[in-house]
């Protein structure tokens, strides 16, 4: 098996342009955009960013990939059906809220856990992060569900 990764050839069924430029940029943009989305998600609590914005960026990444490659390719990037992302996002957000209930406080009360890691120093993990991750997944799931299914209608 060759380990070399090549820019994939145009999908036979893909309706979109056969433009080499778009495919090439799409191939490189996808990991960059997804990393950027992760970056936005994690830094969101202290600087501009957050689950909602990160979800939109990730959806844009998926959309670019879809136009550059194919609908099937976009689905392969997500690995799971985008609808499932919505469900998992809602479950995570609810779970973040339920944490408060178990300690006898109102629903959605924030809980923080400070972890000391050798390299990163002090790391604050809290239920709001879990909640934000839920928001991220719902936004990504919603946008990709709509975009991918709309695109698949075209054929």
């Amino acid at each position: 098996m060759t380990r070399e990764r090549r820019i994939p050839p145009p999908d036979r069924n893909a309706l979109r342009t056969q433009s080499l430029i778009l495919r090439t940029t799409g191939f490189f943009l996808l990991p960059l955009l997804l990393l950027f989305a992760l970056f936005l998600l994690l830094r969101g609590h202290n600087a501009p960013g957050g689950g909602f914005i990160a979800g939109l960026v990730a959806s844009a990444a998926i959309a670019v990939h879809l136009f550059a490659m194919s609908e099937a390719g976009a689905r392969r990037v997500l690995r799971v059906d985008p609808r499932d992302l919505i469900a998992w996002g809602l479950i995570l957000a609810l779970a973040a809220g339920v944490i408060g209930l178990f300690s006898g406080q109102p629903f959605l009360t924030a809980h923080w856990l400070t972890v000391s890691l050798p390299v990163f120093g002090e790391l604050k993990l809290g239920s709001p992060l879990l909640f934000d991750l839920g928001v991220f997944l719902v936004v990504l799931g919603t946008a990709s569900t709509i975009i991918i299914n709309l695109a698949e209608q075209d054929t």
Binding site: P48, R75, A96, T142, I146, A151
Partner: protein
């Protein structure tokens, strides 16, 4: 006590597993719960009847002042004992009767839930809690009537029962709220001590009518009596439990319970007495006209319910004591008779009295039970039914009201016809010429005989020795219903008096009627013609009307055109705002301040306006989309200028994704055509300008008025210490106002589901359906 009520709900999910483990004895095992509850309530007998009611109080929703409070007094005890004891017998019976039915576990689950709900109704002290359990009995009963859900008839009848009882439930809820309002408390234990205040209140009449509507629909009083015989589509064990002994008595329970709080007025007597008397006579008349076994039993239940309502309406000491005796007697014999009807069906397959006859030799035990129960129904010495009927006659004869003779006459007529009904049930299937059967029927299995034998035997035992219960249970129940202490011993023999003579006459007339039963049915055929104008027809008319109304309304409101939905939504918004400002003219504070507008801000605003005008007037879709994009990006720029980077990023991203989605849709739309006339377009423009102008004015006004101090300072100062975050927007989103965000992501998920459904539904209609490419 709470554990006792909830135990049914707790056991319900386990019932199917239990049935799988012990398929043959599941009924016996499940009967242990109601049997245990019977024992529990039995142990409360002495404390409750001698020391007064038992109250428990658990905070449920303290914010709404809604506690889970329960009360066990004589009345509740009588009902709880009946529910649990008959329930235990029903489980044993049903386990055998439906042994081969594949859905037997489902029946168990529903029966357990129903039993628990019913216990909740008779034990609740809080009106709202009572109402919740009341509706639960309606729902479980709906599922039980429609148990054979593949049968369209069963489904329709179940729905009929549900709509009638839940419709009454709506009235009941309103009545309860009014009652809690005028009585100053939602606790029954308090309300029953405030009868004078409640009956003197101007809203008393309305409250009473609403509550009585709820009770009448549940207890199948005229004109709502028609659902009960139709509910016989249920399997026989369900009919025996719900539609004779328990659920239909919930209305009776409620009336008896509220008598001290709302009774004793002329309206109470006329409403309850009148409807009860009519139901009683109508029920027994229709019972005698019916030939289906379960149908006749159902109509005779209607008669009994009418009798009970009438007695509670009469409201004297004798009447209420009679009501309690009659209630107990009826539950005993009617439960037994329904189970007998089930045995006849199970062993011979016959469901109609005309197809039966001469089977006493094959089913000796069953026929003995049927005979005893029928004697109790007829009110013949020495059964408990006799004692109940004597009291009933005395309650009518000794009442002082001007209309009392009418009630007495109704009682006498019902008594005579009732004897004939009892004779049909007790004689017709067992004696005379044997009805032809393909096989010789054999006696029913012990599990099915236990119920009728115990209930019929108890009817005999209590008739012979009424002292077992008269001074304790029945007196305590009657006291609770009367509001003052009653201790009245019952006796089988009162000497020769008017009531006894009337009883004797009724038996004679009833037997003659039975002799000429076919003739009676022949000469009362006009009743069938009459029923074409009866309340059941009204029900069907009402349902058809509802469907027609919603059809018309859908045609009117759901045009299917997005633009009409938009117009109506927007104009409603305008109307609401204008109405609010009309009522509150001071709220509008327009103090626009344009002094510190910078040049670049003005330029962006100009770009916004131009782009908007372009979007409206451009002739191509792509151009319009691009112009809308310009609007969005200009707004994002404004956010940047006013230092809101998060909003700005979001706006840019949303614009981008919107354009992507529009592109995906755009190519699949038909060519751009101008289909609307100028007039329509002008009207649309007017709507747009109105809405836009209104929002502008509102926003300017909001800037000019501030009722409370700004919350911004709180967010700014608390963001780091309480939310551990320096990005205030994000801390607000995921911590301070996380509940809002949670709601929003649920809306997003719903929107995605909607889009997905629309796309997939559409492609289903297509012949060229695109294949699913994933997985």
């Amino acid at each position: 006590m709470l554990t006792g009520i909830l135990s049914g709900f707790l056991l319900a999910p386990l019932a199917p597993a239990l049935h799988r483990l012990f398929p043959r004895y599941s009924g016996w095992l499940l009967a242990l719960l109601p049997a245990g509850l019977t024992l529990y309530f039995f142990l409360q007998w002495l404390p409750v009847t001698q020391q007064g009611p038992l109250l428990t109080h658990i905070d449920w929703v303290p914010a709404l002042a809604m506690p889970l409070s329960f009360m066990l007094d004589g009345l509740s005890l009588l009902f709880a004992l009946m529910i649990c004891a008959i329930g235990a017998l029903i489980f044993i019976y049903a386990g055998r009767y439906l042994e081969d039915h594949r859905d037997l576990p489902r029946l168990y689950v529903l029966l357990l839930c129903f039993m628990a709900s019913m216990l909740g109704v008779v034990l609740s002290d809080n009106l709202i809690v009572l109402f919740v359990f009341w509706e639960l009995t309606s729902i479980t009963s709906y599922l039980l009537i429609g148990f054979n859900h593949e049968d369209a008839n069963a489904r329709a009848k179940a729905l009929q029962g549900l709509i009638v009882t839940v419709g009454g439930g709506l009235a009941l809820m309103t009545g309860f709220i009014l009652l809690g309002h005028i009585g100053g408390s939602y606790e029954l234990s308090v309300l029953i001590t405030r009868g004078d205040t409640i009956t003197a209140h101007p809203l008393y009449g309305l409250t009473l009518v609403l509550i009585v509507l709820g009770a009448f629909t549940k207890s199948a009083q005229f004109p709502f009596h028609f659902w009960l015989p139709n509910a016989m589509a249920a399997p026989t064990p369900v009919s025996a439990y719900l539609h004779s002994a328990t659920m239909v008595k919930a209305g009776i329970y409620l009336l008896a319970r509220l008598h001290p709080a709302m009774g004793g007025t002329e309206l109470w007597l006329l409403l309850l007495g009148g409807a009860g008397a009519i139901t009683m006579v109508l029920g027994v008349f229709l019972a005698l006209r019916a030939t289906g076994i379960k149908r006749m039993l159902a109509y005779s239940t209607v008669m009994a319910l009418g009798t009970l309502t009438m007695l509670i309406g009469l409201g004297t000491r004798t009447a209420l004591l009679a009501a309690m005796s009659y209630l107990l007697a009826h539950s005993l014999y009617k439960g037994a008779l329904f189970m007998v009807a089930g045995i006849i069906d199970h062993q011979t397959g016959r469901k109609d009295f005309l197809d039966t006859g001469g089977w006493a030799r094959y089913l000796p035990v069953t026929s003995a039970c049927a005979g005893l129960a029928a004697l109790s129904l007829a009110g013949v010495m020495p059964l408990f039914g006799f004692i109940a009927k004597e009291q009933l006659l005395e309650a009518g004869l000794n009442h002082g009201h001007a209309l009392a003779p009418l009630f007495s006459a109704a009682i006498v007529v019902a008594a005579a016809l009732g004897v004939a009904v009892a004779a049909v049930i007790g004689i017709r299937p067992w004696f005379g010429k044997p009805a032809a059967l393909t096989h010789t029927p054999s006696e029913a299995p012990p599990a099915m005989l236990l119920g009728p034998a115990l209930l019929a035997g108890l009817g005999l035992l209590l008739g012979l020795i009424p002292g077992l219960i008269d001074r304790t249970l029945l007196s305590a129940a009657a006291s609770a219903s009367l509001g003052e202490t009653v201790t009245q011993p019952l006796a089988l023999w009162h000497g020769i008096n008017t009531a006894l003579l009337i009883s004797l006459g009724a038996v004679l007339v009833g037997l003659v009627l039975f002799r000429y039963w076919q003739g009676f049915r022949h000469y009362t055929r006009w009743a069938d013609t009459l029923s074409r104008f009866g309340p059941e027809q009204a029900y069907h008319r009402l349902m058809d009307g509802l469907v027609a109304l919603s059809n018309g309304q859908t045609r009117l409101l759901q045009s299917g055109y997005l633009r009409y939905y938009l117009i109506s939504t927007l104009l409603t918004l305008v109307a609401l705002v204008v109405a609010a400002l009309w009522l509150n003219p001071d709220a509008l504070k327009l103090r626009p301040d344009f002094t510190d507008i910078q040049l670049h801000e003005a330029v962006i605003a100009a770009v916004l306006v131009i782009a908007t005008l372009a979007a409206v007037t451009l002739q191509s879709r792509l151009g319009a989309v691009a112009s809308l994009g310009a609007v969005g990006f200009s707004i994002a720029l404004l956010y940047v200028l006013f230092s809101a980077p998060d909003l700005s990023i979001t706006q840019v991203l949303v614009e981008t994704l919107t354009v992507i989605m529009l592109v995906l849709v755009l190519f699949r739309l038909p060519g751009f055509l101008r289909l609307t006339r100028t007039r329509t377009r002008l009207a649309d423009a007017l709507v747009g300008i109105t809405v836009g102008g209104m929002v502008t004015v509102l926003l300017l006004s909001v800037l000019g008025s501030r009722y409370h101090g700004s919350i911004a300072h709180y967010f700014i100062s608390e963001s780091v210490p309480a939310g551990y975050g320096r990005n205030i927007v994000n801390v607000i989103l995921v911590d301070f106002r996380a509940l809002d965000t949670l709601g929003e992501i649920f809306v997003l998920a719903l929107a995605a589901t909607g889009v997905y459904a629309m796309l997939k539904l559409r492609s289903k209609g297509d012949t060229t359906e695109p294949e699913e490419t994933h997985d």
